[in-house]
Amino acid sequence: MAHLQSSAVAQITEIVNRHKNEETPLMMILSDIQKEYGYIPLEVQELVSSLTGIPVSEIYGVVTFYSFFSLTPKGKYVIGVCLGTACYVKGSQLVLDKFSELLGIKPGETTSDNLFTLDVLRCVGACAIAPAVSINGKVYPMVEVKNVESIIHGYRTKEEAQND
């Protein structure tokens, strides 16, 4: 098992200590780690286990229960297509299918260049602007199948510009 860098150990210890005055803070700790690193690998779960005394199996059980937590790193851009009812009745499934087709990945997967992760969202509370697509927190309103290509293209171009 790969070992964590000392800076990561320090930071995770800090996160755990941040919540030490709260009762049963596991969810808070995991949320913070997820936000900080984008995923919660096993080594980190082991560390949290040893810092909190909670068995690794319980931490792993929690991580795999909640869809917000991820065991693997996500892409640089996380595309969330809302499949809430309001979005669904307005065709968001077709939008999701289009993203899936153009990126060549299924929902939950990440492209091999680690640029995009495609996720299904269950209502982001943006029903008024359905179908909604959220990319790294930015919400795109009323996305139609025909917009999908240009949205992806926009990020690809931005990425190329940064690399040049």
């Binding site: 909640y66 809430g84 009812t85 359905a130």
Partner: protein, 634 residues
Amino acid sequence: MIKIKTSEELINKQKECASCLDSKFKGLDGKRAIVVCGGTGCLSADSHTILERMHELIKEHHLEDKVTANIVGCFGFCSQGPFVKIFPEETLYTKVKVDDVTEIFEKDILGGEIVERLLFVDPQTKEKARKQHDINFYKLQKRDIALRGNADINPESIDEALGDGSFLALNKALHMTPQQVIDEVLKSGLRGRGGAGFPTGRKWQFAHDVDSEEKYVVCNGDEGDPGAFMDRSIIEGNPINVIEGMMIEGYAIGAKNGYFYIRAEYPVAVKRLENAIKQCEELGLLGDNILGTDFSFRCHIRLGAGAFVCGEETALLNSIEGQRGMPRPRPPFPAVKGLWGKPSVINNVETLANVPYILLNGADKYAAIGTEKSKGTKVFALGGKVNNVGLVEVPMGVTLRQLIYDIGGGIPNNKKFKAIQTGGPSGGCLTEKDLDTPIDYDNLVAAGSMMGSGGAIVMDEDNCMVDVAKFYMTFICDESCGKCSPCRIGTKRCLEILTKITEGKGTMEDLEELKSLAEVIKSNSLCGLGQTAPNPILSTMASFYDEYLAHIQDKKCPAHVCKNLFQYKIIKEKCVGCGMCARNCPANTIEKTDEIPAGRDPKMPMRIHLIHPENCVKCGLCMNNCRFGAIIKE
């Protein structure tokens, strides 16, 4: 910051803040105020940039003393956003773009002239509405209880909340005994806004009556119902109102700590709530000996992490306790043994947002609103196939017809109304025959649905109800916690059968099995999620049995949604032979025949086209690209 230590200090501070707010909204000393909508829809349409731009312009013109600009919660009329409202005239600009800001600023703020082109135009009368209450969408609404302050005050400023009257209800409550507070809530007839509508006062009474050193109040903000965003807007628009409701509850049942459980998907709500709690603590309105009384109270925030089942109250408690969100068997009920084994009351965000109004204005005034058994107002997230999509607060008792047609402005594109789904995955579909039913808890249940948290999704003739049932089953299957076997396995089986039916492989036996499964899941499941999981199936089967039959017996999807059960077809008479369809067909399954389109010169290359259904992937590109309306689904 100076702490508010007594009732008198609160009342003085309140007066001071109220006059500030007054001057802001009433334009005393020639002041102007700009508020910009901060709802999700408007933010996604750059309302934050609009606000930034306004700030820049104020600075450029050195008007910092005269003009203020801030974000507010949500105007609710999301399909018309972003909104910019100018005080004291209360001019409401709709669909504002970043490019419009300079014009608004120069014409209105500097010139005192209204930018006519940005006013709302009534689609029927074509008349322009200058103020919010001139718009039909708002006319039937009563947005001053749960959505109080939502489109006026700055949700990040406790002074504005105080100016709006926050904490006066708490102050009043602290002068009553806890039992008197509970009696007042009982008398108001307030029922839980999260689902089944259990009387809030009775819930409080249970917890009040249990003898325990430590008790907890928990606010359920895990709004997971796909198609609902009431709680989000309430917290984002006026977090302090919810905190005050929670404190009153804490006082009533004897709790010292309150926990907000909020979806992690709502970062803005979390941020505003954190900020509001901090401001309350700084003023001494949260902490020890609040307003000089023996009442001490603290608020804590816990985040959900993407599990719908955590809206179920015992699953929510497990989640706060750092466990998988799997519901607990009951009894023991949370009011007896809840969070960390202590008596706990779990109330939904909207429920708590109602509480300050009740205490401040009295139970009688509150109970005067609504129907016999459902009092007050209800916030709905009106969405789907309706013109005026948005967040509405209406008195209980308005009819579905009023909701869809008067407030919602009817169905777009002259399509035919088919159903309105309320109550989310636990609810059901209501149809034409139910439209004149006054909305309240009991009527919706009697009609085969439920209030739920307040999602109201309108469906039109283009929506396939079997597909809708499948959609909800997919959701429930994904979100089933997996603890009890009827829900874990039963919902999966339902989904498999529905999938079979939508693929045209269903049999009448499948339909029987589906019905029997639905009954088993309903009667055998552990928690409310499981027990209500089959509702979308049962309700669509009850109202749209013919659609199920069409899928099974005729192998047709009447709404042309289920891909295996309809075909694209070119109407010969309308085809001009342009070939756009064939050029756009990704499956290369459109053939150019030898037939010459009617009235065309045979020397020209145009020929009638034909779709070979065998290879068609049903992408619909041919139909979208045909400019002559020659392609139909059947």
